[in-house]
Subunit: 368 residues, 2 copies
Amino acid sequence: MSLNLKTYTEHFTNPLYLESGRILEPYDITYETYGKLNDTKSNVVVVCHALTGSHHCAGIYEGDKKTGWWDSLIGPGKAVDTDKYFVICTNVIGSCFGSTGPMSPQYPHHNPYRYKFPVVTIKDMIKAQRILFDKLGIHNVHAIIGGSMGGMQALQFAITYPNFASKIISLATTHATQPWAIAFNKVSQEAILKDPDFKQGYYEKEDIAKNGLSGMAVGRMAGHISFLSHESMQDKFGREYRNTDGLYELFGKFQVELYLEYNGYNFTKWFDPLSYLYITKAINIYDLSRGFDSLNEALEKVKAELHLISFKNDLLFRNYEMKEISDTLTKIGHKNHHYLDIDSDYGHDAFLVEIEKFKEYIKDVLND
Amino acid sequence: MSLNLKTYTEHFTNPLYLESGRILEPYDITYETYGKLNDTKSNVVVVCHALTGSHHCAGIYEGDKKTGWWDSLIGPGKAVDTDKYFVICTNVIGSCFGSTGPMSPQYPHHNPYRYKFPVVTIKDMIKAQRILFDKLGIHNVHAIIGGSMGGMQALQFAITYPNFASKIISLATTHATQPWAIAFNKVSQEAILKDPDFKQGYYEKEDIAKNGLSGMAVGRMAGHISFLSHESMQDKFGREYRNTDGLYELFGKFQVELYLEYNGYNFTKWFDPLSYLYITKAINIYDLSRGFDSLNEALEKVKAELHLISFKNDLLFRNYEMKEISDTLTKIGHKNHHYLDIDSDYGHDAFLVEIEKFKEYIKDVLND
């Protein structure tokens, strides 16, 4: 069967009440669906994206070269089988792929929000999604799956809306962002803020898309380090040098340097710097325990069947951070949770590139 | 007894023939000595500094607040006992604390070299030191000690000048810089190069000293991540926030962010950006095997008693990189080498801050 990919943008005129006390009004949510909603609306699987991801998690647009970011996991006959499930993935608020973010027009004057955009949190992101699903007549779902910031959303769903999803699968994430990850985000934020072409937030979108923003490229390079591991870098690049004769040239380059340059500068052509600042802020302040006395108390809310998948040498979110969730759930007597630590050399990127290692697991969880 | 700290700058008019085939002529070497050279000149201990270190490894200058970078290790009655040993530490060529570097005047016109400065290597750095020692009438030494880039120099001494030192102690380093470390250097280099105030290398020293260079600050922040570990960051900063009321302020800050800002921006006031580019280049292209068929063959040169000290969660230079040196030495039948892997939560910084954990070891090695 076909993937049945459809992209929509839904406009909301009611205010979205944010965790900060501020409101977003009106706002848009762009989302994508795959497969077909069944008559009882019991076959919905929600997919949540990471920092720089989007609603486009599977399939390929006409004329594009790259598929959606989890295409090897989601599709007809795949682990998240769109012949069976109706998959929805929304672009988070604060992002730059259709949902309302800092460069969206602020009503009524239609100038971009820029710094007037409110800080949004992971909780706000899932609240907006929940409102969208309600509008679509979907009041509970079979499963929610996400990795990295997507995994944060999945866990936040489990706590904030305990009856909403039967199954939660959260990969390569944490219960509260630790200083190591905050530090990497800091390098990126600082690199953006100090780039004169960022114009203190008053840049023109078109200029960035055309010329890139070197500060954001530098920041993204730091990000890429955090996504990889010593082992994957050694395998991928070793000490390979572009031109051995140029070893003593100050600007001669190792393969790993070319990789970072390519990905860094390419990134600035498709991602918005203000969105980067706002979403990394959301990640930094993410803490499942906020509003509770402890992680214990927060996790006592969880009713769903919960699956936690970590990767052994993920250096951005360490596997012990996820194990702590699992251990806490065990301690408080949650009956139906499972923790899987996957051996991988890919570091944090494993949740995107080592699908082979967990797709059967996800398939079984969904079909169980 | 007193430390007997003395600082000198020696001027050399003969050309220094570099690994690249280029020459440096004339050149200066700034160095510091502690203790007293004995009559037989048999009590010399050479200390080698890291990337941003200097010849000032012990004691304190009048009016300064901070001591030399290894002051808790070196001094009267300390592990490197200046009552017993005559300690010499030189500022490496390429650096910015007195020895000739990219901002030194180029003869005969006296304008700074800037990009005309040749790429120098770890081998060049120790060659210059060797020439200095010769000039001082010191043709062999009791021991050479260094950590990080200082450890690279110590190892390079063992291979390039096998009869020069009786004992070599190398800490927190590697036999060849791996892509993980190169990647961190890349972020720093790129951040410097793309900063308009860097003026493509044609900045005024005074402007940087006065205003800082935000690109170098950003790069240094990335550097600091690589010096730390998940554990040390968790201990040191946790998720502490400067102002909890400001959690939803885009520019509200975690403690770890303030630490990076402070150290990043402070750094730009005392270190030269061109030196940073040149020294990180030297680190990137450092490879003990260069000029040999293999690491085996390179290490066959080693005659000294060799001590390798790694730190368990050093993320910049992994402990297994040093173990590889030890294993190779064992394989090729080198009789007198020792590998010590120290348990520490401090990451790479351990060689500077966890002196307690190895000072007795170093004392025993020197006094044996």
